[in-house]
Symmetry: C2
Subunit: 295 residues, 2 copies
């Protein structure tokens, strides 16, 4: 546990009291009770719950109040709102205020931040904590959500090294294991292991739910269906924004996956048991090896 004097910020503006922003703030306040968190959230009920839950010291309806006097701004709304928030923020920032985000896509966010923040862009540290749950909102926040979980930072050549070091430390104080990736590589990797699975899971549930006999079909769904579709209970607005924000990489993944389904379909329609077995065996081996490597 780092000592309190190493805590890199005194006053933090949290923009959006969702699961991720709320959990980071809870973790930071438990490590350093002196840090002052000022929340801005458009939803009145989120502001109420965030105060009840201990996520923030104060909660404001107006962005300028939440920004006042802070040395760090955390963008934790769905990524679709980032451009609007950054535009409103820009004239309100102090001369040394650092900005970071927790968005699941990085190239689009960085492009928007560069264009909106101008000479302040060097103090923007793009981040993505690899932890979540299908639950959302302030009441789902947990101080230990990031403990031993990966956080990916995707700084660019312009990123101020001091700002980067401070944000890195802030994640480490929340228990996270910080990694660095190039933003484009980040977006490709997460299109494959996170964004595509969410789309596939949403698609299955929506397709079945639209049928006239959906209630009969769902009544026989069991453990395999439950696990496969758990992520289809995720926040739709957040996933619309992620899908749009990473559309290029996601379309590429979707096409590769559709090709694989065509291959499977061909094997199935030819009753090619060897091809099916071989594909299933490769998948089982890879999945088992992956799972055995988890902490």
């Amino acid at each position: 546990m780092a000592e309190k004097q190493t805590f890199p910020f005194e006053r933090i503006a949290l923009i959006g009291a969702g699961l991720i922003g709320g959990s980071w703030a809870l973790a930071l306040r438990s490590v350093n009770p002196k840090v002052h968190v000022q929340l801005y959230d458009q939803q009145a009920q989120h502001r109420v719950e965030a105060i009840e839950k201990g996520i923030a010291n104060r909660a404001f309806e107006r962005l300028e109040e939440a920004i006042s006097g802070v040395d760090l701004v955390i963008l934790a709304t769905p990524v679709g709102a980032f451009s609007s928030v950054l535009s409103q923020l820009r004239p309100l920032l102090g001369p040394h205020t650092v900005i970071t985000d927790v968005g699941s896509t990085k190239r689009g966010v960085i492009d928007a931040a560069r264009s909106i923040l101008g000479d302040v862009f060097s103090r923007f540290v793009p981040g993505h904590p690899i932890s979540g749950a299908e639950k959302s909102g302030p009441l789902a926040a947990r101080a230990d959500l990031f403990k031993d979980k990966r956080v990916v930072l995707t700084p660019s050549a312009e990123t101020n090294p001091e700002a980067l070091a401070k944000v890195k430390l802030l994640w480490e104080l929340a228990g996270a294991d910080v990694h660095f990736l190039d933003a484009a590589q980040h977006d490709e990797v997460f299109a494959a292991v996170s964004h595509l699975p969410h789309l596939l899971s949403y698609a299955l549930v929506e397709e079945l739910a639209a049928r006239p006999d959906a209630h009969v079909i769902f009544s026989y769904a069991a453990g395999g269906f439950r696990d496969f579709t758990r992520i289809a209970a995720s926040n739709p607005t957040m996933w619309r924004d992620i899908s749009l924000g990473n559309a290029q990489a996601l379309l590429k993944e979707l096409d590769a996956y559709t090709d694989k389904l065509s291959e499977l379909r061909a094997a199935l329609s030819k009753a090619d048991g060897e091809a099916l077995l071989s594909l299933f065996q490769r998948a089982q081996k890879a999945r088992t090896e992956w799972a055995s490597g988890l902490n």
Copy 2:
């Protein structure tokens, strides 16, 4: 709990000591320690483990020894082996011996049983317990695997009512909740909620595992990926047999799903946020309602 005198069979041949057959036998032996279970399994290690685990009283290398004197035969191999086993069984069956199975597909199994068993087909009770795990083999068996879980029986017009009642009771003694479905409807329902998700999960893992940078991609996979791909750790032989055994219904499901992916792709490539949000919202609502209805 039913009394021991109601136990419908005295001597049971278990063909295949996998998770499902092994768990049913464990449950029955715990309810009625007097029932005698004779296992046939081709794999010597499975025979050893089944005896160690208490699944069977005896374990045989030859089918005729396991069948000797039994009043019930449980087919619990992968469904691809059913025809061969039924052909070997046919001349060995006693005049009142009942046969049942635990296969995940039903139309193909019933057609094969009708053609192979001839006049004995009336004593064949087709069944499918809706419970499983990605683990397999005798050591994964658990006496409580079917407690409060659904078992679907798909009798035909020819099925002997007494045989059916006995097999139903045997499942109830293991704690299961028995339902009846027409075999064709069974296959359609399970193609949708079980067989298709398995194919989709295998396909994703195999597609990613084949890439040169698979280790980097997998290193960033987290909870969503873990849940979505849990069923890709399932037994490949079993799922090859299920896929082939239910190919007709599965191809129909795969095509409907591929159409849904095309719709999603179109929305994504047009950056149609409204269409994406609406699809994700319908899925989230259906998934949340389904989950809230689970016991």
